[in-house]
């Protein structure tokens, strides 16, 4: 069993007052910024982050160093840090923003120095009222202490960082939606390729959009060095991870482990197992978009690569655990209602298809499901997938629908046949992994094997 680590969370668990810059500095804060600005070149920093193997913590797991490397040197460049944490089941950025805001700011200063950026924004979801007020105060403290502003620490480097509040739209967590929001437009994501934000971003200039936790990780990498950082975790997924355990677990919360910990260990050892020692029905392993795992699929390490191989994703590391009393039909209806509410409406397949699927799922739950409904749902998934500007249509829109229907086919089928909401005995509610197949590379692209459909009664 993997052991807990405390690279990211040590200070914030020990000291509740880290938002006070004097407390933060007294325990070693801003030393990394000082070291980096005074003794490293921007190239050194980029190489260090590349060498660390850091994968972005926003959900997609894209290599941070590579993203930085793609940034065009067409000045001015901008930094946008994504704190629009709204993916259901994800609550790690809240922990960092609430508990250790200055570490996030330090990561931002280092990132801006590395990429020769002089202006950056920290975009936080509007419902984070207390966090936004605190962050505004923190940024003022940071400036008063000379870590922001003109000629920082006498190095000639100028930087201004500002907070920006959202106003309740999940789509602003999509990086180009965030940029549009920050520009004061309706936050409709931009078509890409050909131009990613690293080429054309905020106000038409090259822009790096990184997650809040990624910024904290950058500070850790530059403090400890890429070599030491790489020793944590596996070659595929380096560094500490924050796993958020919620739903039916005895000890919900954020836990810091490396990526070699398995989903089973996270549920049963780390989070204490399921209340009443009931049986597991399934776990959504990285925010609501991450395709669900049945109890037969949880002996997998929480690495980005290993999760991708079995058709799901590491995502945000936020895990929603569901016990045997859970109706998967109801759980999917809930996930689908979220997607319906948050679809921005720009693309027709998502704007029309997601609510259509939601209506079908509601009638199945209410005992009015039709025999063709499951095939219809899977067909709508095909019609949405890849036909929208951003991944929203497929990530929260399609992946949960397709995966839950395929893996929990018997339970959906029972609801339709019996014309009521049925929660099957847990072992009968899902198929065995050899009854469906994952067609890589897109997460959630599961297909039933025909013999399984026949066995389940068509």
């Amino acid at each position: 069993m993997a052991a807990p680590i405390s690279v990211l969370t040590k200070e914030l668990r020990e000291n509740p007052r880290l938002a006070d810059i004097d407390v933060y500095i007294a325990q070693g804060g801003y030393k990394t910024v000082e070291k980096v600005l005074k003794s490293m070149t921007p190239e050194d920093i980029v190489n260090e982050v590349k060498n660390s193997g850091l994968k972005g913590r926003g959900g997609a797991g894209f290599a941070t160093g590579m993203k930085w490397g793609l940034c065009a040197e067409r000045f001015p460049l901008y930094l946008c840090v994504n704190g629009d944490e709204s993916e259901p089941g994800s609550f790690k950025d809240r922990l960092l923003l609430e508990g250790n805001p200055h570490r996030v700011i330090e990561g931002m200063i280092i990132t801006c120095f590395a990429l020769k950026i002089n202006l950056g924004y920290l975009y936080m979801r509007g419902e984070f009222f207390q966090i936004i007020d605190q962050m505004e105060a923190c940024l003022k403290q940071t400036k008063a202490h000379g870590f922001l502003g003109k000629d920082i620490l006498g190095t000639g480097f100028d930087l201004e960082l500002y907070p920006q509040a959202g106003a309740g739209a999940y789509i602003c967590g999509e990086e180009t939606g965030l940029i549009e929001s920050l520009e004061g437009n309706r936050p409709y994501p931009r078509l890409k390729p050909p131009f990613f934000p690293a080429a054309i971003g905020l106000w038409g200039q090259p822009t790096i959009v990184n997650n809040v936790e990624t910024m904290a990780q950058v500070e850790r990498i530059l403090d400890m060095g890429a070599e030491a950082y790489k020793q944590i975790g596996s070659a595929d997924s380096t560094g500490p991870r924050l796993f958020g355990m919620c739903g039916h677990v005895k000890k919900p919360g954020i836990y810091e482990y490396d990526s070699t910990v398995t989903i089973r260990e996270l549920i049963y050892d780390v989070a204490g197992g399921i209340p009443g020692d009931r049986k597991l029905k399934g776990v959504i392993p990285g925010g609501i978009s991450a395709p669900i795992l049945t109890p037969l699929e949880i002996d997998v390490p929480a690495e980005f690569g290993a999760m991708g191989k079995i058709g799901t994703m590491g995502g945000t590391g936020g895990m929603i655990v569901m016990d045997e009393t859970t109706s998967i039909v109801d759980a999917l209806l809930n996930a689908s209602s979220f997607a319906r509410h948050e679809s921005c409406g720009q693309c027709t397949p998502c704007r029309e298809g997601v609510p259509w699927m939601n209506d079908i799922l509601r009638r199945i739950k209410e005992g009015k499901g039709r025999s063709e409904d499951l095939e219809l749902l899977l067909d709508i998934c095909v019609q949405i997938h890849g036909r929208t500007v951003c991944v929203f249509g497929q990530a929260p829109g399609v992946w949960p629908v397709r995966t839950m229907i395929v893996k929990y086919w018997p339970e959906f089928k029972a609801c339709i046949d019996q014309k009521r909401l049925v929660v099957l005995p847990v072992d009968e509610s899902y198929l065995k992994p050899d009854q469906y197949e994952f067609v890589p590379p897109v997460p959630g692209n599961f297909r039933l094997k025909p013999e399984a459909v026949a066995a389940a009664g068509g």
Binding site: P88, F91, E127, A167, Y170, G184, N185, I288
Partner: protein, 159 residues
């Protein structure tokens, strides 16, 4: 009659506007609409005109933004706006009971505002506090691990 921010709000607005390059003031539209909502309780067409004047764009551009985001109220709401999270993690930990309890206690269905304008009850999507569900936001304050007893205490504290 044209609306104008109070001197304090105007000062705050100027500080917000200073965060963006000179020719990019439109970026302030989201924070300025928040400010307008704080100032007048909800966002009226007149408030949209006021914000449009400040950032130098047409009112319809501001309306486009104000009508997109769910956090802006276009109608008056109660003194206390209660948002109960109903997304999956909170659903698994009992948000339906919380919503039902509040609904009965306040005599309001989700989406309604009481005649005395004290409370507005709403459902909201995930508030990113999933380890402490069920959760709700009352104006700017997050309340977690809700039970009927806890809700009674919270409501009492709002009297």
């Amino acid at each position: 009659m044209a609306l104008e921010f109070s001197p304090e709000a105007r000062k705050r607005a100027d500080e917000i506007l200073s965060r963006y390059p000179q020719d990019r003031k439109k970026s302030a539209v989201v924070p300025l609409l928040h400010l307008a909502q704080e100032e007048w309780g909800y966002v009226t067409p007149e408030a949209m005109v006021c914000v449009a004047d400040m950032i130098g764009c047409s009112p319809v551009k501001v309306a486009e933004i104000a009508t997109f985001y769910p956090m802006y109220n276009k109608q008056p709401v109660g003194k206390y706006e209660i948002h109960v999270c109903h997304t999956l993690p909170c659903a698994l930990t009992g948000c339906a009971e919380v919503l039902g309890y509040l609904s009965e206690k306040l005599g309001l269905q989700p989406g309604e505002t009481g005649e005395d304008k004290r409370f507005t009850l709403k459902k909201i999507e995930c508030l990113a506090a999933c380890d402490r569900g069920p959760v709700m936001l009352v104006n700017k304050t997050l309340y977690t691990n809700l039970t009927p007893e806890k809700i009674d205490d919270i409501l009492k504290s709002l009297e």
